[in-house]
Symmetry: C2
Subunit: 385 residues, 2 copies
């Protein structure tokens, strides 16, 4: 009934070119088989091969340049071999721009049930049907090769950030697993990124950054943050790691997506971010703005003819009042999540685009200061009351 | 904080021009303050001021030319005075093409609780919070003037189609109410359509069509169908009524939306249709095609690389396999409803567009025959098994 597309990857250089730097902040381009990724950049998350409530056309309108999909979820459902049979993730979800898949590591540690960790890998039970599975570094790479993203991640262990002893053991495994991923990898059209771990411990983070740098991978991620440590611990860890990671490779801060954290990351030399926050908040009636969050369920918006943000150029703000958005929420209409997702993703994409321009124009420090000062003001809702 | 727009309706002629006829089928244009409506036409339903799961931009892409909104729902939530304060429905929901609102009559009889019907109007309890309300013909017009649609409907009583005695009494009220609506109406930029009732009884339908025709309204609807009568009774009623309704006014068959019924309606001189079917089926995993319905939850589609309909030009069929749609359904992703709604609405809009062309080109009878023959074949799913 249907034809299978032949698997024919071609070698790709995966070059990261710096266009400008401003302090530690960097403006660059990372080349992938599906096009250039301008950095700094925020990547929306499409966990199950869909950025929740949005069509790919919405994401192109928003000019999203990279999206993330979750290996753990897609491995369990619909299965990576099915995705491969359908021509890979790009064809399956109709997204011809770059895709990044995580390794499944984080989800195995945060979502799956009854884990058993050995040097070999992790055995766990599916959060969907309780079935037993094992993911090893080799298996993670095979799954990610089936999915076919442009950037794939090394299989890592996410330890509780303040547990020194656990972090020491986990780090050894994470490093050994990274080497096994690098050895097992076959597709020349995918870039394997290593993940720096080590909790909140600067010496562990340093040794992790050094170990992975020596592997000469095309890019590096900072993992295990935004999982319970303080903001100071998060920002200090980024500073520590980025002093060691090579300047000519992209740096990806995993799972981070508040405007404040984006600014702090970029300030410290981070290039790529991803987070479910904009779409998750959208499904919980919250709008992200650079003056704080708004809960549109609030009765204060019931007669409000203004858009979420009069300065915002997104589809939602160009067409709809807060009164209409509140009506959709109260009436439990699906369109509410779609319109808020459009706005929230636009807010983060615009922020990284504005940061990029400020870096190129050598005025990033001032721009960052202005944004952070604005974000620390009392919330918009407080002001309107 | 926000400015209220002044209410300044201008007189509009509401002309219905016939471009061509073919047998009893008609191709025409109905002019409204928000543009021409080409007929025959299917109108998607946006019950709560949103066509479920779609943005207005999706509907423009689909080239929807008229949408329907529900007076009963919007009166209860968010309230018609709020919609008026926000500049009316067109501004509120960001839809600048024609809108039609029903009178609230059908919903009062099908959704509301503990109704009390008098000559004055209907008292009922809200299906949302049990609060007590009264809608009279005058109140229905006031609510619809607040909402500000291009086409508004007379307040009518929907009787059980086979109950002769009830239909006789209800019809007298429906006619008296239509006259009160016509008298009470103030806005010159809205066309009031009368609704022919009378159940399955030809003599009652005839007298209703005659009574309303004498009122010289700008358009007429056929109500009380697709509510439990047989297909033969439905089609015969349409034939009976359309013999009497004036040829120079549009005819709107309410609540009808299967491809088969659209063809049978157009064949008998109907110009406008509306129905929740395409969006409701979409939320229940069903795709409408001109060879029958498909339930995409069916395991037969799990590895299917083909789109729903290889001949369909909709966004969904141009980009997504049935395997992907099934994955979205199984993973309970909202995008499933959006993509299926796009496809289903496209199917009905394309069908009415194709009918229009066939009428203009004088080959409608043959076209209708082909479509009906195809629809009566065993279902697609049966064939693929």
């Amino acid at each position: 009934m249907s034809q299978q597309k032949p698997f024919s990857p071609s070698t790709h250089p995966f070059v990261f070119s710096l266009e400008a730097t401003d302090g530690d902040a960097r403006a660059g381009y990372f080349s992938t088989p599906h096009g250039l990724i301008p950095t700094p950049l925020f990547a929306p998350v499409g966990t199950q091969a869909t950025v929740k409530s949005l069509t790919p056309a919405h994401l192109v309108d928003l000019d999203a340049r990279l999206i993330l999909a979750n290996t753990y979820h897609l491995y369990l459902r619909p299965g990576s071999s099915l995705v491969s049979e359908m021509g890979g993730l790009h064809t399956f979800m109709a997204w011809d721009r770059p895709i990044l898949t995580d390794s499944g590591g984080f989800q195995v540690f945060s979502l799956a049930k009854t884990r058993r960790i050995t040097e070999e890998g992790v055995q766990f039970k599916s959060h969907i049907d309780g079935s037993t599975h094992q993911i090893t570094p080799e298996r993670s790479i095979e799954i990610q090769e089936d999915l076919g993203a442009d950037i794939i991640m090394a299989f890592d262990e996410c330890a509780e950030p303040h547990d020194r002893e656990y972090n020491e053991h986990a780090l050894l495994r994470t490093h050994a697993w990274a080497e096994r991923c690098q050895r097992h990898k076959k597709r020349p059209d995918q870039a394997l990124f290593g993940i720096v771990q080590g909790g909140v411990f600067p010496d562990l983070r340093q040794s992790s950054a050094e170990f992975l740098t020596a592997m000469d991978l095309p890019g590096y991620a900072i993992g295990g943050l935004s999982v319970g440590e303080s903001k100071t611990e998060m920002y200090d860890t980024i500073t520590t790691v980025n002093k060691i990671l090579p300047g000519n490779k992209p740096r990806y801060l995993m799972g981070v997506g508040t405007p404040e954290d984006l600014i702090h990351g970029i300030m410290r030399g981070v290039d790529i971010f991803d987070c479910v926050l904009p779409t998750r908040l959208a499904r919980h009636q919250a709008a992200m703005t650079l003056s704080g969050r708004k809960n549109l369920m609030n009765a204060v918006y019931s007669h409000d003819q203004d858009p979420i943000d009069p300065q915002c150029g997104c589809y939602t703000c160009r067409h709809f009042s807060q009164a209409y958005l509140r009506h959709l929420i109260i009436a439990k209409e699906m369109l509410a999540a779609t319109l808020l997702s459009i706005h929230n993703i636009h807010t983060l994409l615009e922020l990284t685009r504005a940061c990029r321009l400020a870096i190129v124009e050598g005025r990033f420090a001032h721009y960052a200061e202005t944004i952070l000062a604005n974000l620390s003001q009392p919330s918009v809702e407080m002001k309107t009351r």
